[in-house]
């Protein structure tokens, strides 16, 4: 069975593009979230194998969401999606429990590398 993924980003555009990259590589997108709060709720509901998490989102940012998700499930596998120049935030996200990060704009190979690595 293919791995299930929850894609979290406040832009439909980004969710679509990231979803395409992952789906073409054989992943199943089981859910999407456009706010940090929804990401946490969806994680609890869907229990996906993997979460991609944007950092800047309304109603609870991505870092806070990672913190809540890993508190709920210490084995949760979250990959942060950050923009250039957000290194400090990426460090904070890793400390909060994220397993890896990719930098926007997405390069499909870079995204897949990261995801495979996190899924082990």
């Amino acid at each position: 069975m293919s791995h299930t993924v929850l894609v979290c980003d406040d832009a439909v555009f980004m969710r679509t593009m990231l979803g395409d990259i992952l789906q073409q590589a054989g992943f199943t997108i089981v859910g999407e979230a456009d706010t940090g709060a929804r990401a946490v709720a969806k994680y609890k509901e869907l229990r996906p194998d993997l979460v991609t998490m944007d950092i800047v989102m309304p109603d609870m940012g991505g870092i806070e969401a990672v913190r809540e998700i890993t508190t709920f499930d210490p084995d949760a596998r979250v990959v942060m999606c950050s923009a250039m120049g957000q290194q400090a935030l990426v460090v904070e996200a890793i400390e909060a429990g994220a397993k890896d990060f990719v930098v926007k704009p997405f390069q499909p190979s870079r995204v897949l590398d990261s995801v495979q690595r996190v899924l082990g």
């Binding site: 406040d10 832009a11 439909v12 555009f13 980004m14 679509t16 593009m17 979803g19 395409d20 990259i21 789906q23 199943t28 997108i29 089981v30 859910g31 999407e32 969806k42 509901e45 869907l46 800047v56 989102m57 309304p58 923009a83 250039m84 926007k104 704009p105 997405f106 499909p108």
Partner: protein, 513 residues
């Protein structure tokens, strides 16, 4: 990676984020120093950040650079390194404009991996939906799809009516029950389709705060702009077409309605003018209202001008709100150069009036000298289907939209009518109301009886009684629009097919009165 398929999505979402950015910046301008300003900065930051990410992904470097600059500025505000000032907000708004232009221009560029042909339609959302069992997901649908869906529902409605007629004569209980069930489902389907076409009016209102702000500044006036009821929903196609009329009304209110600060102070008013744009649901209608607390319309000046132009009878001494609206909506009146200096409006009111006619809506005005003016657009929820009164006149069937219908009644013509055929007005509940004999209006000789079926209608604040041959009932009719032939004296708002399959013309009450 073929990026061309994301172009449309980039544009539509980019526009949304630009609108959010503008709204947040204006909020910042309104309350430069309070706790809400932090929220506004955060909101603006997120919008810019999203655009930056999307533009970078598409390879639109110019856009992502502009966004990056704006983002840095907002970040400084967020951290408290910079303070919100008028000048800064001004600068941010200019940058937001540049960003908006950038977004629009970028999609004209060829994208990486694009073939020479036009950008492909984004197919993703539908597929994505299948793969997403999660509830409350959204799918972007082309507006034209919804239009054809609505059209089909309308056709189904007509087919249902015909079927009902046929079945009525060959009654079989099982068939009747099945027909009743189908009818109920069809009604539900129609409601669902109408609902799917609804969008919050706020989407059309978004650009107004900006416009009002700039117009007020150009005019050197200090005006507080209030938006109310942005979440009220209206048919998408309707919404697309009320933008310009509303803009007209706002400009008029700013230019001619709200007085200069000196005049306001002299009149004992708050120096700052107040302009409100509100939306409100009322039964099957949505009311869009533009209210200002300005000087009101000067009836004396309008009256004098209306006399000069021969728009009213010479003995008219007072203009009611309805008269005023009618005079101001006269095309010749509104374009007369001298009127622009009148403290009333009247500039382009004919444009607003015409738009209302197309949409099957009505216009209402109320003004008080020294206190202000309110103009209300009363719109049906959807343009595609209207509830109408069906009447017959000289063997033909006509539909009168319920937006205009006041009441049906039987009128007694004066005895003299049998001699000279003159019948111009009737006394209805102590009101003198003009009478329109539809037969005569359609060029057919009138016929008189002791009691005659009539319907009182209102449009542009005026009332009239339409005399028909008979009433055939009421029905939801699907409007097929067409333009009346040039030079024809009677205007119709469109045509429809009734449930018995026969065609009927929809009477344009606005043009009749």
């Amino acid at each position: 990676m073929d990026l061309s398929r994301y172009v449309e999505l980039f544009l539509s979402e980019g526009r949304e984020h630009v609108a959010q950015l503008n709204a947040a910046l204006l909020e910042l301008d309104r309350v430069p120093d309070s706790s809400t300003s932090n929220a506004a900065v955060a909101e603006a930051f997120r919008a810019v950040h999203s655009i930056k990410g999307m533009a970078a992904a598409m390879g639109y470097t110019a856009v992502s650079d502009t966004a990056h600059g704006l983002e840095s500025l907002l970040d400084e505000l967020r951290r408290g390194d910079k303070r919100v000032t008028r000048t800064l907000v001004e600068h941010l708004l200019e940058e937001a404009d540049a960003l908006a232009r950038g977004v629009e221009a970028a999609v004209q560029l060829p994208t990486a991996g694009t073939a020479k042909d036009a950008p492909a339609v984004v197919q993703r959302p539908a597929e994505l939906d299948e793969a997403t069992p999660a509830r409350n997901t959204h799918v972007r649908v082309r507006a034209s799809r919804l239009d054809s869906l609505m059209n089909l529902v309308g056709e189904l409605e007509i087919a249902r009516g015909r079927l009902g007629k046929v079945l009525g004569q060959n009654a079989d209980d099982g068939v009747k029950a099945a027909f009743a069930h189908t009818s109920r489902l069809l009604t539900e389907l129609k409601e669902e389709v109408i609902t799917a076409r609804m969008v919050p009016v706020g989407q059309a209102f978004e650009r107004f705060p900006r416009l009002v702000r700039e117009t007020a500044r150009t005019l050197g006036k200090d005006v507080e702009f209030v938006l109310e009821g942005s979440d009220i929903e209206l048919d998408r196609s309707m919404l697309d077409r009320i933008g310009d009329p509303v803009m007209h009304l706002l400009r008029n209110a700013l230019d001619h309605g709200i007085e200069s600060a000196e005049k306001r102070t002299a009149a004992g008013k708050d120096e700052r003018g107040r302009l409100t744009l509100s939306a409100q649901r009322e039964l099957g209608y949505v009311l869009i209202r533009v209210t200002d607390d300005g000087g009101g319309i000067d009836r004396t000046i309008v009256l004098a001008r209306a006399h000069t132009l021969g728009l009213i009878t010479a003995d008219t001494e007072h203009l009611s709100d309805g008269d005023l609206l009618r005079v101001l909506s006269t095309p010749g009146f509104s374009t007369a150069a001298s009127v622009t200096s009148v403290s009333g409006r009247g500039v382009g009111m004919d444009v607003v009036d015409a738009a209302m006619r197309v949409l099957g809506g009505t216009l209402d005005l109320s003004t008080t000298r020294g206190e202000g003016t309110a103009i209300t657009l009363r719109l049906p929820l959807t343009v595609a289907i209207v509830r109408a009164l069906i009447a017959s006149v000289a063997g033909e069937t006509f539909a009168i939209p319920f937006t205009h219908v006041h009441e049906t009644l039987e009128l007694e013509p004066p005895a003299s009518v049998f001699d000279d055929g003159q019948w111009d007005e009737a006394n209805i509940n102590d009101d003198i109301v003009p009478v329109i004999l539809l037969r005569r209006h359609f060029g057919v000789p009138a016929r008189f009886a002791a009691r005659m079926k009539s319907v009182t209608v209102t449009a542009r604040g005026l009332r009239a009684a339409l005399v028909v041959d008979d009433f055939l009932g009421q029905q939801d009719v699907v409007v097929k629009r067409f333009d009346s032939p040039k030079g024809s004296t009677v205007s119709f708002a469109g045509a429809t097919v009734l449930s018995d399959g026969s065609p009927a013309l929809i009477i344009d009450v606005n043009s009749l009165i």
